[in-house]
């Protein structure tokens, strides 16, 4: 169907093949169930890595096919993916720093907190 009237389409129109879209969806459901199953197995320190790996695989599928990145202009892809670079920079440096002074927070004796009832009010707003 997509192929049949493709010739009528302007050059910027790239409909994705339907079976591919449905296949991608099934793969996504499979991965969701997989991540749920693996989370029930004791995998100790790998659990987080595996969950993130599966999430990234799912994200890649969504990006590539649902979001048509597979057919998109290189510049758009580059720009979008560069955002992850900045996010990791943000997370990485902040983590590096807070990790270094975490101890000085942990040893600090924390004062009593204000009563719970008073807390939800905004201060003098």
């Amino acid at each position: 169907m997509a192929g049949s009237n493709h010739s009528d389409h302007p050059p910027f129109n790239h409909p994705a093949p339907l079976p591919l879209l449905i296949g991608v969806f099934l793969a996504l459901v499979f991965l969701t169930i997989l991540t749920l199953v693996t989370s029930n197995i004791e995998l100790a320190q790998f659990a987080f890595a595996i969950a993130m790996l599966i999430a990234t695989a799912k994200a890649a599928l969504v990006c590539a096919f649902f979001m048509h990145m597979f057919w998109d202009k290189g510049f758009n892809i580059l720009f979008f993916l560069s955002s992850t670079l900045f996010v990791s920079l943000f997370i990485g440096v902040t983590l590096l720093d807070t990790g270094a002074y975490k101890e000085s927070i942990d040893v600090f004796p924390r004062a009593a907190e204000p009563a719970k009832a008073a807390a939800p009010e905004s201060p003098a707003e």
Partner: protein
């Protein structure tokens, strides 16, 4: 090199004959490319907008793994997985909708858009059930976190409060649809009918969520904190807690500088036993468990706001489907809204394992 001749004098008045190509673009392709780049850049800003919350999440998870361990027992991962699949399905229908629009098939596009909206509303319905259940248990943000072990009966008053606006919208849309039908505005009638169905999706989601919880809880106990309440886990928690406390006081000793009596006093008065009031049998939760829920509410709340914004954008697309606007050379807005919708899905793909699957 262009040469000046009378032909090169641009006559602007005759220029825009096509209502779907803005006057300042040379061609449909230029317009489409601009929109596409624009929406990708917008998605970049969205990613960075969420990044702040991911930073907060990562920091608190790495620095305080114990509070995340304790906290995640309150989240039902099966319900979360179900919601994930609902959202993935909505992404599929969105992609199909874009496909239909690219072929100029407005009717199919409309149907797919409608399904997408219904799924989005369902997602919100399930989320409302999850939220209200937590609020019943006193699970709020950090400062008001006041978890009390009890088994709320019946439908949560919070859920009813949350459902007031959808209920009003439902009634309003049905009324508007019927009124439009009577005044023979068929397009409007269809549009409002579609919106009513969408809002119906919210209630469907809420029902599914409630049913799901009742099923998995297997009777009286609530799944979400049954795990937390099992003796084994509690024991583990208490060990955690004691260890932390010991280590804490030990370090305190090292850093307890002579002359700093006040600091010392503070510590012995206010230990980590903020929740001791809940009974000795139940070892207190870490006082910072509320921080996890602060982050949880910020992340899922912001995501929910994006879903609501998505529904509004989709409603606009739906309206234009009914007005038969899409053509093979003009389907950009469907594509752009679709990309936004996939991003909302993408963020949930990460939120789900980060919040629900902690072990």
């Amino acid at each position: 090199m262009a040469v000046a001749d009378p032909d090169n004098i641009l006559e602007h008045d005759d220029h825009h004959h096509d209502p779907f190509i803005a006057h300042h673009f040379e061609s449909a392709e230029q317009q489409f490319d601009s929109g596409k780049l624009g929406i990708w850049i917008f998605l970049v800003t969205e990613v960075l907008f969420f990044s702040g919350l991911f930073v907060a999440y990562t920091l608190y998870r790495i620095h305080h793994p114990e509070i995340f361990q304790q906290a995640h027992h309150f989240l039902d991962k099966n319900l979360g997985a179900m919601n994930t699949i609902v959202l993935l399905f909505s992404s599929l229908t969105m992609a199909l909708g874009v496909h239909a629009a690219q072929n100029g098939d407005n009717k199919k596009c409309g149907i797919y858009t409608l399904i997408t909206m219904v799924c989005a509303a369902m997602f919100l319905g399930v989320k409302a059930v999850e939220y209200s259940h937590k609020w019943d248990l006193g699970i709020f943000v950090r400062s008001t976190f006041d978890y009390a072990e009890h088994h709320p009966e019946g439908i949560s008053p919070y859920l009813i409060k949350l459902s007031v606006i959808p209920a009003l919208l439902l009634v309003g849309f049905i009324g508007a649809s019927v009124f439009s039908k009577m005044t023979e505005k068929d397009l409007l009638a269809k549009f409002f009918g579609g919106m009513a169905v969408t809002v119906g999706g919210y209630f469907l989601g809420a029902l599914v969520g409630l049913g799901f919880m009742a099923l998995t809880a297997g009777g009286d106990a609530h799944a979400s904190h049954e795990v937390a309440a099992s003796p084994l886990v509690l024991q583990a928690m208490s060990i955690d807690e004691d260890e932390k406390h010991d280590e804490h006081s030990h370090e305190e000793g090292d850093h307890d500088h002579a002359g700093d009596d006040h600091a010392h006093d503070d510590h012995s008065h206010d230990g980590d036993h903020g929740h001791a009031a809940h009974g000795a049998a139940k070892e207190p939760m870490h006082r910072d468990v509320g921080t996890f829920f602060s982050i949880y509410y910020c992340m899922t709340g912001l995501h929910a706001i994006h879903i609501i914004a998505g529904i509004i954008a989709l409603a606009w697309v739906f309206w234009r489907c009914l007005a038969l606007h899409w053509r093979p050379d003009y389907f950009g807005p469907v594509d752009y809204v679709g990309l936004y919708w996939h991003l909302v899905d993408l963020i949930w793909i990460y939120l789900f394992p980060l919040l629900y699957l902690i072990d």
